[in-house]
Symmetry: C2
Subunit: 347 residues, 2 copies
DNA sequence: TAAAGCCACTTTACCGGTATAGGTTTCGAT
DNA sequence: ATCGAAACCTATACCGGTAAAGTGGCTTTA
């Protein structure tokens, strides 16, 4: 593995010149440049990154932590992050929290050791070590960006959709179809986005909604938890005619529960999801859902973080990206009997 | 951000002592150790990783490249990798190839620059820069491990299942159920694992198989390609009674094609997948498939790579992990008419 | 009693780049 | 011919750790 000295010797120049040929070629004469590049090629030289990082005090890496890699919601986000980071000359360090607190502090330390220049955090709550770092930087920006969720009290930037409006849009869709008894399968209570979706979904002030009943089941964003919750809902004396799940995986669980009870979707039961993961359109029936621009969320977090790192952004910024209701085959007006029953019971 | 000098000064010792307290505490007296640790705590000191890496010529990072992050097949693999790497003191650098050659060489260079100590490669073909590195190291090991696939001619280690046997097991299952006309939806021809599965699936020498007809459709592991392929198969004059897709996502596409033609699965058409991704059991009907131990594949690649890095392994090793046929609801004996037709036509 | 060994630490060279200051050459203007 | 400034290059300090050699005082050994 050759170093810069060997290249310099071979090209007959100083190491500084070699360095400059590779980082700012325009300030070196064409002739010298040619000689150096030739030597670089012959020796297959590539600058050692540790040395570079030590001298420049930048690592060229962004740390990204994800609560659960297995969730397909994060795949396009990660792709957006990885692609943008690479095109801006950064590499991505991946941390999978697996919902484990002890792993979180491990990754918090990596920021302190400067193994990464910044952190893109997906999850509910910053690990303690990072929160301290953020608090220390306040009111200026620490190199930390929240994706999707964000802690209201904390001085951090974030990129997300309007979850209140998203939740409201899902329910508005069901309401417009005629549903008046709606089951809701929420995420865990410590998830800010789940809280917001619930807020929007059940907002009694929402214009045009009257005579709606909600039955809220707490779940945890997993297929299994939603299956159990929906199974319970369908076993009620007066089951809901529609169900809004706070993510698409839980909608899969809801579909399974419906199959299990020989209910047809959407004839007997309408189902709405959230996220529009890649598989939503391939479910049976294709899933109506609130789409999040996942790839753009990923891209947005990187851009925001790079703005902070370069000093272009000083004060924490919040970016809200648009969501979109995608109507597919899993929602329809409630069956006549159901709406009659509903009518009779409220009369 | 304090450095080791400030800690040394505060503790009244030399920097070397501070360094040793943190890396080999046992060779320092308890009293000195206490003083140093106290100073470390007060200053919130964390060793700069670039400096450490420069001196030790190790980066503590493993580069992992994935052809497509969106494929849920890779999620458990990545989780296994990340978890094992972290527990062994390594961090994971993520590269998403997105089937793009130009990105591949970018990541090849990272090895040369020593931004990572080793590479875990998922995909068909090593990028040129890495292949050169491997060739240069031959017949010893380069710090490169193939996951799932592997290039036969190349001197690299790999971790995978026996794809020939897996393909054979899938077809044996269908054969045992009575299917004699089997559609096969393969991956792209440049994928070694797809080639192997095809070999096993259509092996005419396989004991006990007689009078089986195969119709092979080339696809590319995507839902859409499989949908088109299966749609074509089902439109044939004598369509197959069972279909073996070389991954589970393609089985999803096959299911969709069956729904589209109002066929019941498994009554009218049996479907077998490969991989046993997390969603396989949640399809409608639950998918019969060949399970790969994905998490263990991930763990295995890390262990193998660390063995190479530590010098414990000198010669390239190949690890074959067990696969398993998981029978769920998507396979059943062919309908009577179909088998009669089959019988009549072969008589 | 000198030599050798050991302990617990300090000193220092070094990893491989880049930033910076300073030196040399070139060339047009005076 | 002399000067000045730009263009281009070199020498070197420095980034922050760690490995290895060195130190001083003590104990053990021949």
């Amino acid at each position: 593995m050759p170093n810069i000295y060997e290249v310099a010797k071979r090209a007959g120049v100083s190491t500084a010149t070699v360095s400059r040929v590779l980082s700012r070629p325009d300030v070196v004469s064409p002739e010298t440049r040619r000689k150096v590049l030739h030597a670089v090629k012959i020796l297959a030289y590539a600058p050692n990154s540790a040395a570079k990082h030590l001298r420049t005090l930048r690592s060229g890496k962004l740390l990204v932590t994800i609560p659960d890699l297995g969730n397909p919601f994060f795949s396009p986000i990660l792709q957006g992050i990885e692609e943008t980071a690479q095109s801006e000359g950064y590499a991505v360090l991946l941390g999978d929290m697996q919902h484990d607190k002890s792993r979180e502090d491990h990754y918090g330390l990596m920021l302190q050791r400067r193994e990464a220049d910044g952190l893109i955090f997906f999850g509910n709550k910053l690990p303690r070590s990072v929160a301290e770092l953020v608090a220390a930087a306040a009111p200026k920006c620490a190199p930390v960006v929240y994706g999707c969720d964000f802690e209201p009290g904390l001085c951090t930037s974030s990129v997300h959709v309007d979850n209140v409006a998203g939740g409201a849009d899902a329910v508005d869709h069901l309401y417009a179809l005629g549903h008046r008894r709606i089951g809701i399968v929420s995420g865990p209570p410590d998830s800010p986005s789940s809280r917001d979706r619930l807020l929007g979904a059940t907002d009694p002030e929402r214009a045009g909604r009257a005579n709606v009943e909600f039955v809220v089941m707490k779940a945890d964003f997993s297929i299994e938890s939603a299956y159990a919750a929906v199974n319970h809902l369908l076993g009620l004396r007066r089951p809901p005619t529609a169900i809004f799940c706070f993510n698409d995986e839980m909608a899969m669980g809801a579909l399974e529960a419906a199959w299990g009870r020989r209910l047809r979707v959407p004839e007997d039961l309408s189902i709405v999801g959230f996220d529009d993961i890649r598989f939503a359109r391939h479910m049976n029936p294709p899933l109506t859902t609130i789409a999040q621009p996942m790839r753009e969320i990923g891209i947005g977090t990187v851009r925001l973080l790079l703005d902070i790192l370069s000093g272009r952004t000083i004060v924490p910024a919040t970016v809200t990206l648009p969501h979109l209701l995608i109507v597919r085959g899993s929602t329809a007006p409630p069956a006549v009997e159901a709406s009659l029953m509903q009518h009779a019971s409220t009369a």
